[in-house]
Subunit: 314 residues, 2 copies
């Protein structure tokens, strides 16, 4: 490791937000040296609690994240927020709304906010988020909130890595329930019906309870369903209490932690091997030849790949 990088890590561990931000960018973009950073900080990780916040667009996740952050800060906890935004291919970055929003809580003492885009995360979004979590953890954050729009497998994979997952809904979701159902329901530790001062909030609670009753997942009958009005701070204290209960109960489960480490190792391994293979393929003309053969239908892609596998793997 270079002296410069070593200094940067030391600065970060001594509390420099500038160094923290710089290291995160480096890791997110897989800049030269990122692997050394991850190795260096790893021994200092494992203390932070990670909370995943997800739900359909318009459920008020951002406001809820803000209010929750304020409540945690008031309880003398330091907070890191990772907002996973669907990127706009037109502006080339995250959605403007979230950017504006984040400025507010990011000025609070003890809060560090980072926006990550679903596109462009080198090496996969869920791995990148896990890496950023580790850096925030090493920095000394007590609680790390990960906020995502809960659609698509990518985002499910992201919140799955959290110690506790809250799914945020609103009364009268209609079609949106479809988007939530896909893979999110089964990973929820807590349901939140936000904007609960609106009509239909009791109905929304019942709908969720009904779905949970139909589930075959272990423990789904005991999942709390809470009502909040994030804009007014209503229900937030109770939410925090419930979140802490989930965090405490999960701390006991070694098998659950082992399973997550296993998944992470496999993902890291898959990515590392794929990277290795892509670099090697880029250096020879095998792939170009193969593409032309498939286009001309002289050979099928499946036989070509079988042959390639044999040439790469022991």
């Amino acid at each position: 490791m270079t002296k410069e990088l070593e200094d940067l890590i030391n600065e970060m561990e001594e509390g420099s937000v500038r160094a923290l931000a710089r290291l995160i960018t480096m890791i997110e973009n897989r800049e030269k040296g990122w692997l050394e950073v991850m190795k260096a900080i790893f021994p200092n990780t494992g203390r932070a609690h990670v909370i995943g916040i997800t739900g359909p667009p318009g459920a008020g996740k951002s406001t809820l994240t803000d209010t929750l952050t304020c409540e945690l800060i008031a309880r003398d906890l330091s907070v890191g927020v990772i907002a996973v935004d669907p990127s706009s291919p037109f502006s080339g970055g995250a959605l403007l709304g979230d950017r504006v929003r984040m400025k507010e809580i990011s000025t609070m003492k003890g809060v560090f906010v980072r926006s990550m885009a679903t596109r462009g995360a080198m090496g996969g979004l869920s791995l990148a988020v896990r890496d950023v979590i580790k850096v925030l953890d090493a920095f000394g954050k007590d609680i790390i909130l990960i906020e995502t729009v809960g659609v698509g497998q990518d985002e499910v994979d992201v919140v799955k890595t959290a110690d506790a997952v809250m799914v945020v809904c609103v009364p009268g979701m209609g079609d949106n329930i479809q988007a939530i159902k896909a893979g999110i329901m089964e990973i929820a530790d807590i349901f939140v019906v936000n904007k609960a001062d609106r009509e239909g909030s009791e109905r929304a609670v019942l709908d969720i309870r009904l779905m949970l009753n139909m589930s075959t997942e272990k423990g789904s009958l005991n999942i709390p369903i809470l009502k909040t009005v994030a804009t007014k701070g209503e229900g937030i204290a109770e939410l925090v209490t419930n979140l802490f209960e989930v965090l405490e109960s999960q701390e006991r489960e070694t098998s659950w932690r082992e399973e997550r480490i296993r998944e992470e190792l496999m993902s890291l391994l898959d990515k590392a091997i794929a990277h290795h293979v892509h670099v090697k393929l880029g250096r020879n003309s095998k792939l170009d030849t193969a593409v032309k053969q498939v286009l001309a239908r002289e050979r099928d892609p499946y036989s070509i790949v079988q042959e390639m596998v044999a040439s790469f793997v022991h």
Copy 2:
């Protein structure tokens, strides 16, 4: 290949829908022999045109797909429909609504409908869809429609493989525009404002045009924005005309086809190598040891993976 499998492929190529359905299930589940099937049918592929249909929930994609299918059948074309459904983790399958719907068009002569779930597709959804497309192609379908709820990278990857992509919107989408923007806009060949008899349809057209004007993508200014009322069949003939124009223009671009083959080869290779590695890891206790070391923070996952890569790859 077994005699039985050979017979099944022959039956399929002679027009047996039963054999077609059986082979698709086999390939989707990666049952023993699937690779042989893919190799055997590959020389008979490459004739079908693939159209991707995507957009937010509630845009009327299903109805539009049905109406489009009827129009294509009326023009003496045979049609295959692949409906990619967000799976419900509670019912364990695709969403009921789509299942019911599909019964209607699936009784039409010359139409084959297949529902594929986003979860549980062994080896990745977009690869599985590509494989099913090839079988439908070998079966002799002229047009293959792929319908997805355009959210999440998985689904973007799926429609990206189509020869032409139509993005379906509705007037007054509000928050939903957020979900579309993420990675879908840039792959659209045609925009459709469906339910155009509703208030705000002209506004929706303008909003899309505005977004396209802001885009830096090549050719985005020439992307057609059409209005349809799928339930009444309005605008469908013009849509078909526009789709055929896109299909014809893209047939010329060899570089575009080469790029797609390259992507497919790389995805197949990544999956095949990962599979190989997972099988090997399953046979020894290296991974178990690694998990325990990481849990105890004796070693970091990054160093372990680096070591593993070296032991697997040339």
